[in-house]
Amino acid sequence: MAEVLFFLAGIGAIAGAIGVVVVRNPFYSVLALVSHLVSLAALFLLLRAEFVAVAQVVVYAGAVMVLYVFVVAYVGGQDEPLGARPGRGLRVVAALFGAALFVELCIATLGSGLQAIGSEGAPVQPGYGSPAQIGELLLTRFLLPFEIASFLLLIAAVGAVVLARRRGGISAAEDQARYSAMDVLRPAYTGTMAEAVDGRSGNVRREALPVSGASAEYRGPDADEDD
């Protein structure tokens, strides 16, 4: 019975992973990831990590992915074009080294000579993986990591607010949307790192790259919103 469940959950996880990578529309990628997470939770359950499995579903799939969905909806996930630069070379590298990586990891873990891999694992107490044990561990042995992790969450929250805030309020956002004459007269790449490093200014490789204040929208090569 456990084997069947394992294969089902395993195939689900792998399918979800492949789906994340392959699917064009970011929204669907998110959904693929959610399914992947749920399968992974099943695998955790099989490994007798009940608390972690539930936490995975509730926190990860429930909160983090919901955040993802919100952002994708706000930003607008356009379908990605196929085969642009750096393109071909990078795909080959990705495939090749990905395969190499997989092989190596397998050799590393499975061929490592650890006896216990061939087994189901050590005998465990009844309370293994239960919330009680996790809680006890968190508050006794791993108190410091626990506190630091919560501190980290605080920092991340503050950081996210700072990053995404609107500077100066709503009216400022409207002001920022106005063109000025300098945006037309000033050469492209002015004030950018490219100008500092290469001295490149006014040398336009594609249409001028506007920085804060211009209202020119970035339209990807394929502005099709469908799918």
């Binding site: 750096p86 990078l90 990705a94 080294f97 990905g98 190499a100 190596e104």
Partner: protein, 670 residues
């Protein structure tokens, strides 16, 4: 400190004090004040030299080599350098000559350079030069000798290029300095060769241990002595390092009188005399010196017959007479050589002073072709010139006769192949008579040139436009060029006193050493040369009489020929010149030594310099080494920079590749 030491230090340091005072405060003194201060310092220095002489003579005969030590300069492994002077008869002789003649020349210069804007600078330099020369002759060890040697070279450079806005003068100064530096190198290397064996820099210690440190004609000793000779030749303008002396006539006439007649060029003679124990133990080197001296006196004599610049005739005459002195001290006739040094200082300085007066009357023009008939307008100058000329030509009873004769007598007495030098010496005396009186007859006899006519009427010739007499370039009279006024002896008492004193000395100086009658110089110098095998000599009476008579005849013959060619039959000179055109060309072009040195030394050096710049510096150092290093860095950094593409995915790919590689490595390792 004994009185000898005190007087020696005073003699040395008073000119230095004079330099400092004149250099710092000279501008505040009006008119000729700087000149008086400098001359005063020199007079006091001469007085101290006389005091040193008297104090030295008061010592016992064996004690007359006094070492005056100031302090230890450096005592380390193998070197014992002290600031010490050696006061012995030789050095006292030299300081008397140097200080005495310098005082008279200072006196002369007070008036001669009166209108020059660089008056103060001149006297500062002149005092500094005298200080250096005194340091050279008073030095008690090789270190101070080399220091004095170098200072003298530097002072000579400063004084030759005194009129520094004239390119001819600066070129001449550089030429003199470069050749002097070659001599300096020889001197230092020679010192090294010698000190390597003796282990001591001090003169007295070196001379005491010389017989135990070296075997006769030891290779190192000969090499060292030959290198010392190189130094002596460069300083004393002997062949082949002589080409700087005629060009050095670009300096003011007092400079020529002091440096290039009486003092600096005699430094080589002093060196050989001082180092006589070494030269006596290495006869090969001494022979080299004698041969070069002989060659020089002949070559310089022939050139002097053909050149037309008044000062250059006297310069070549100096070269020739120094050849006599070098020949003498190389052959062991030390007292004779030094005696000739003294008399030569007198009459040569006198000749230069008189020439300066004539040139002033010509308003700076030095060409003999343009002079004539100054006998009537410059009587005092003419008289001094004749006295100097007679002394130079070796006519009794003037001083030059006795000193030159003493030299040739002792050379003939040595026998062997030295007879060749004996004959050459008399040929040289014949040439001396010819060129000396050629100069006098051409400048003073004959029809008066316009400048002389002006002077006869009472006012000196004054050119409207001042120009360089050598190449005719127009110049002004501000700092760096000669001043607007010229001063002749007849109108300046200071010049008259100086020239008169020297004329007197030129006449009576010979009385100090008449063969078989007086031996003042011989006895005075004996303590220095006590261990010399060649010093005490007793030539036969027959040789003495023969030499005296031959010298007189040769000198008079030279004067007679000069009289006939340049006074009696005016066109004869031109005809002889036409008939012997190649020979005259050889003489007039100074035996092509300048061209020879140009081809052998200057041209290869220039080629090497341009090669170093064009090929080595530009291509190899700049291109390969520097460019290569920077190019390598640039290529390397651009290769590394290629990894910074800015693409995020590229960076991630590099991460993955790296991780794969590392994992592979660790897997293989395990």
């Amino acid at each position: 400190m004994s009185s000898v030491e005190l007087f020696a230090w005073l003699t040395l340091l008073l000119p230095l004090a004079g330099t400092i005072v004149v250099a710092l405060a000279g501008r505040r003194l009006s008119g000729r004040g700087a000149g008086y201060v400098a001359t005063g310092a020199m007079t006091l220095s001469f007085a101290s030299a006389v005091g040193a002489l008297l104090a030295l003579q008061g010592l016992h005969h064996e004690e007359r080599q006094v070492r005056a030590v100031a302090w230890d300069y450096a005592s380390t492994v193998g070197i014992d350098a002290q600031i010490s002077l050696l006061v012995d008869p030789l050095s006292v002789f030299m300081i008397l000559v140097v200080a005495g003649v310098s005082t008279l020349i200072h006196l002369y210069s007070i008036a001669y350079l009166d209108s020059d804007r660089g008056y103060v600078r001149f006297f500062a330099f002149l005092n500094f030069f005298v200080f250096s020369m005194l340091l050279l002759v008073l030095a008690g060890n090789f270190l101070l000798l080399i220091v004095g040697w170098a200072f003298v070279g530097a002072a000579s450079y400063m004084l030759i290029s005194f009129w520094y806005r004239r390119t001819t003068a600066t070129n001449a100064g550089i030429k003199a300095f470069v050749i002097n530096v070659i001599g300096d190198v020889g001197l230092v290397l020679g010192t090294f060769f010698i000190v390597r064996h003796t282990g001591s820099l001090d003169f007295l210690e070196t001379f005491e241990g010389i017989k135990s440190d070296f075997s006769p004609n030891d290779a190192d000793l000969v090499a060292g002595c030959v290198l010392l000779l190189v130094g002596a030749f460069a300083k004393s303008a002997q062949v082949p390092l002589h080409t700087w002396l005629p060009d050095a006539m670009e300096g003011p006439t007092p400079v020529s009188a002091l440096i290039h007649a009486a003092t600096m060029v005699t430094a080589g003679v002093y060196l050989i005399a001082r180092m006589h124990p070494l030269f006596e133990l290495a006869p090969t080197a001494a022979d080299v010196g004698a041969v070069i001296g002989c060659l020089t006196l002949l070559i310089a004599g022939t050139i002097a017959i053909a050149v037309t610049d008044l000062k250059r005739v006297i310069a070549y005459s100096t070269m020739s007479q120094i050849g006599y002195m070098i020949m003498a001290v190389s052959a062991g006739a030390y007292a004779a050589g030094l005696f000739h040094l003294m008399t030569h200082a007198f009459f040569k300085a006198l000749l230069f002073m008189a020439a300066g007066s004539v040139i002033a009357a010509m308003a700076g023009q030095q060409n003999l072709d343009r002079m004539g008939g100054f006998k009537r307008s410059l009587p005092f100058t003419y008289g001094c010139m004749v006295i100097g000329g007679l002394a130079l030509a070796g006519i009794p009873p003037f001083s030059g006769f006795f000193s030159k004769d003493e030299i040739l007598l002792l050379i003939g007495d040595r026998g062997g192949w030295y007879w060749i030098l004996y004959v050459a010496g008399y040929v040289g005396a014949f040439l001396t008579g010819i060129y000396t009186f050629r100069m006098i007859f051409r400048a003073f006899w004959g029809d008066s040139v316009p400048e002389a006519l002006e002077l006869e009427e009472g006012h000196m010739h004054h050119p409207d436009v001042h120009s360089n007499p050598a190449n005719g370039e127009i110049e002004d009279t501000e700092v760096g060029f000669p001043g607007p006024e010229h001063h002749i002896a007849e109108r300046e008492p200071a010049m008259k006193i100086a020239m008169g004193t020297l004329a007197l000395l030129a006449i009576v100086g010979g009385l100090l050493q008449i063969p078989k009658v007086t031996h003042v110089i011989d006895h005075f110098l004996e303590p220095t040369f006590a261990e010399s095998a060649l010093y005490e000599r007793d030539p036969s009476d027959g040789l003495i009489s023969f030499g005296l008579i031959l010298g007189t005849i040769v000198g008079l013959a030279g004067i007679a020929i000069a009289y006939v060619v340049w006074v009696r039959k005016p066109g004869m000179a031109a005809r002889v010149r036409a008939r012997l055109r190649p020979l005259h060309g050889l003489f007039a072009n100074k035996w092509y030594f300048d061209e020879l040195i140009g081809v052998l030394v200057v041209r290869p050096a220039q080629w090497f310099g341009s090669f170093a710049q064009q090929t080595f510096e530009r291509v190899f150092v700049n291109g390969v080494l520097v460019g290569g290093a920077t190019g390598l860095v640039r290529v390397g950094s651009s290769a590394v920079r290629a990894a910074q593409t800015g693409f995020l995915r590229y960076y991630a790919a590099m991460l993955v590749v790296g991780m794969v590689g590392l994992t592979m490595y660790f897997l293989l390792l395990s």
